[in-house]
């Protein structure tokens, strides 16, 4: 049986990588590797996961230098010469080992006005949204975000500008800007305008390249840039 040589980040921000030997198995995911270390080698290892099937977005880590969802990343896809380096997500404070503090990430969703503001009550009829309409299709293209933070960890602008809302929060805002039922479009466009919002994006497309759900936050941000530009021209900012 071959063995994987795995380096795992241990400790807080001033921690370091520690080496472990893990048996190589067929169809083994990176999350399997981390779980093996915690259950068979060192029970003090802290990491986060829940669903194990790519739905909850809680198991994202940095694997061989790139942010990835570990439950759906096979070792065969990423190991080089049977070696893995697993660390916490970048651009977020480390709580311990592989666990990051996601508060700032989700606070930015709130700052981007990422909550739905209904315009109808339960007594009103259902809204009728044409499935083939451009707005509905724009929502479809961006709605499947699971909030894993991979795009946020991959984004250079997040590192350069700590106020930048980041790809996930802006992608969420774009889905609501296109939601015909939502009543806070204007406030949302104001919230995502400016240097901390969509205009800071350099269109590097790292978020789009790394998104495990194959979404394109860059396209959503480009849509928000158009929306904010037109809002400025109409005097709505």
């Amino acid at each position: 049986m071959s063995v994987l040589e795995v380096k795992v980040w241990r400790g807080g921000a001033d921690g370091d990588y520690r080496g472990y030997s893990v048996p190589r198995e067929d169809a083994q995911t990176v999350l399997d590797v981390v779980t093996h270390i915690q259950r068979r080698i060192d029970p003090t290892l802290a990491y986060r996961f829940a669903c194990r099937v790519g739905m909850c977005g809680s198991c994202a880590m940095t694997v061989n230098g790139k942010p990835r969802w570990t439950c759906r990343t096979h070792v065969a896809q990423v190991a080089r010469d049977d070696r893995l380096e697993i660390g916490p997500l970048a651009h977020l404070p480390i709580v311990r080992d592989l666990v990051t503090d996601m508060r700032e990430f989700f606070d930015k969703w709130a700052r981007a006005k990422g909550e739905f503001k209904p315009t109808a009550s339960r007594r009103d009829d259902f809204a009728r949204v044409e499935p083939a309409s451009p707005a509905r299709r724009a929502v479809d293209a961006a709605i499947e975000c699971i909030g894993c933070g991979v795009c946020y960890a991959a984004c250079d602008v997040v590192a350069w500008n700590p106020r930048y809302l980041g790809p996930a929060a802006l992608n969420r805002a774009w889905t609501l800007v296109n939601d015909a039922r939502d009543g806070a479009r204007r406030e949302r466009v104001v919230a995502v305008a400016g240097d901390a919002g969509c205009l800071a994006c350099h269109t590097h497309e790292t978020c789009t390249e790394r998104c495990p759900k194959h979404l394109a936050p860059t396209a959503s941000i480009a849509g928000l840039k158009r929306a904010t530009a037109f809002a400025a021209l109409r005097g709505e900012l």
């Binding site: 602008v157 350069w160 500008n161 104001v190 919230a191 305008a193 400016g194 240097d195 919002g197 205009l199 904010t228 530009a229 809002a231 400025a232 021209l233 900012l237």
Partner: protein, 112 residues
Amino acid sequence: MSARTETWAWLAQRASAALLALCVVIHLATMIVAVRGGLSAADILGRTRGSALWAAFYGLFVLAVAIHAPLGLRTIASEWLGWRGHGADAACTVIALALLALGWFAVAAVTL
């Protein structure tokens, strides 16, 4: 800066970039034609002096540079040096005014 002002600055930088793309092409083509045509400095000055068209073209070129470059430097100062706020904005305004003054003086020197 407010989000509104920042958005207008972003729009101004994009609009000035579009203008610069056009101005640079015309400027380079003019230079190549002038050099290949064997025009001396005196010949060139003879054509630019008193020309409202060249004064307007290069005046606009300078204006686009004075808008575009300081806004780009402001972003570089923010992202690479962590220099943000009123100090950085004031420095970029000074650079914009300096580019405008130097550029327009140069345009005046060859067109008036």
